[in-house]
Symmetry: C2
Subunit: 430 residues, 2 copies
Amino acid sequence: MIDFQTALQPATSTNGSGISPVQTAVTAVAGFKAGGVACGIRKSGRLDLALIVADQPCTAAGVFTTNLVKAAPVLLDQAHLAANAGAIRALVINSGVANACTGEQGLADSLATAGHVAGLLGCAPEQVLVMSTGVIGLNLPMAKITGGASAAAEVVHLEGWQDAAQAILTTDTRTKQAQVTVETPHGTYTIAGISKGSGMIAPHMATMLGIIATDAAISAPLLQQALGAANDTTFNQIVVDGDMSTNDSVVAFASGASGVEITEDSGFKTFQKALGAVCEALAKDIVRDGEGASRLITLRITGAPSEVAARQVGMTIATSPLVKTAFYGADANWGRILAAAGRAGVAFDADHLALWIAPGEDAHLDEDAGWLQLVEQGAPLNYSEEDAGAIMAYPAVTAWLDLGAGQATSTVWTCDLSHEYVTINGHYRT
Amino acid sequence: MIDFQTALQPATSTNGSGISPVQTAVTAVAGFKAGGVACGIRKSGRLDLALIVADQPCTAAGVFTTNLVKAAPVLLDQAHLAANAGAIRALVINSGVANACTGEQGLADSLATAGHVAGLLGCAPEQVLVMSTGVIGLNLPMAKITGGASAAAEVVHLEGWQDAAQAILTTDTRTKQAQVTVETPHGTYTIAGISKGSGMIAPHMATMLGIIATDAAISAPLLQQALGAANDTTFNQIVVDGDMSTNDSVVAFASGASGVEITEDSGFKTFQKALGAVCEALAKDIVRDGEGASRLITLRITGAPSEVAARQVGMTIATSPLVKTAFYGADANWGRILAAAGRAGVAFDADHLALWIAPGEDAHLDEDAGWLQLVEQGAPLNYSEEDAGAIMAYPAVTAWLDLGAGQATSTVWTCDLSHEYVTINGHYRT
């Protein structure tokens, strides 16, 4: 009855493409130096300023929050990428203060930060990007930022990514890193990334950041195309609480130091897949580390009239507090999933809905994966609640909803909604 | 700076219109009998079946869930109202079982319920409406339903609304009742209503119901018009968790027994206002009794390019888990409110945003109401956190966001997101 072969495809399949499995630590990317320092923004003495430096001007791309309330660094980076995507030299990132809702002063501070780093490297300010993450509504402590950037410029090195990954965190409980190598007939290249994000805006925080670096050679427009596509199926498919930050940014840099050249006709498809694998790993790490999360939930929507419709259904289920609390309680509450799907604004016949659950993250495509069907033709089957509860108790669960209304699919990742989430976000700012 | 006179209008103003203040108990509506019995669906022996009977065929109107997954009673009522809105005799409501996701059997059971009541009253089944609320995916226990309906038909009386209000509850902690009288040159009439609802789907529940009765004489089409309009500004403006039930229904009945006739040219505007006041009181009672709610939050959006845009911003803020947890923590977290507004899909200039808070429900329109401005021109003011915290600690708080992008306004009501909400909805079904 279940046609596993055709109904489900893995979100990102890299089999046989020369792409290595995803490593969870970034070692080095030729052509880049990285590092992190404690410049005193965070009271705890934690690392709070990261610097990434390209040995030579590199190509760059970026995707940014579509929130109308955009932080100053987002506005600055959009301008600098529009003018200089072919010749970026550095990215400086501070945590602790988001420089959002700070008006003219905020823009001046971001520009001054870029100018300071440009002075250290001997390039133009327009060749430097800036990211900030942390409390909204506070101005950047500029003396600490410039002092920190100067110190960071002294310590950056080829294998300094661990410190950079640490320095960009806010409420995250751990670093997020991903790296793949790609073997091609022309040589081997690396794509690596670090990210941060936990709630979309943890105690008054402006959050999700992603930084990708590769030593492949790829033009800025082609890198932008690849990043946009990868973002659509990974970072844009995750939900912690449905809120969108003022600072969300993902940037990618390509140094070309591997000597492998990617063009539209040569190696682009594989590059796209490899970038997708890195972004997917980072995106899932954000959900797994979601505020108060105890469970990673993969939602596979199939049988939709279009991809947009499939995603809309997935995102509506993924943001439903009732679905998320049910997962927290390890309750196979199919009624809440169907009810959320029904209000997603997508046309389908409720009598054609089918729902399965399986243990694990992106559960396998065969019957050995332990799929349990809960709903057929829109009505519950006489399944064992005990079996369902056992699946729901796993730290990762996949739910598969078929709409019976077409051929399109989408995969969305979310986490459960726990008491701890309420505690984290209900606490008075400190 | 604050132009209170023009910027804010009360959500429903009934001043000088002959409409009484809203009473929170329904006493009697001429031309109707009501009652409730315990028929054994609920194990606790609680009242679980309500019956409303019109002495004569009455006009009726209804608004129903737009969820694609619609429960059987919703489908039945839509058909019966389409055929017989001018001559409805009764409404029978059971709690405990929602008769949703029950396929053909569910429709047959709803029809059999209507048929049984029609037999008791000597009318056609098409003159009877049915509502069900409770667990999704279970079939109606028909022997209990028909036995209960027979018993209820024996006990209904003019002043039986308390029992009816009690019998329709599920996870609600208290009944919701509202009643106004309207004095007109042609006599006095009454509009009364009862409702239920707490979470949109409490432990696997299908929820919000509203029942309105009036002894005014009003045609079915005009009653439908009035109910639709009242619903748009009240029941459609409340958020507990953003989830939409498979069973949401509001119906209105008009007996004409007061002798006061409402036509498009005579008294309709006042009738609309009075109906709005009843619906608003019931809607706010649902939010106040929201699952785990400790605070009623009124969101006034002004300065929007259109009413649709104003509502969209209000609903996005009202469903944001981060905003709702901040209210739970009595945290005047303006950054989360601005960030939610910014992702609502409405065009405005972030630098024109202004935000105030005041204690109380639908805070007054003058400066004596204790408004505290937190944000001006998109940036925080240097307000006292102590003052802000004191306002946020009230059991009801009004937040007023001006978008500076037009003249349109909308009012939305929501509640906070508490540990208790997670506990209620995370528990395994029992």
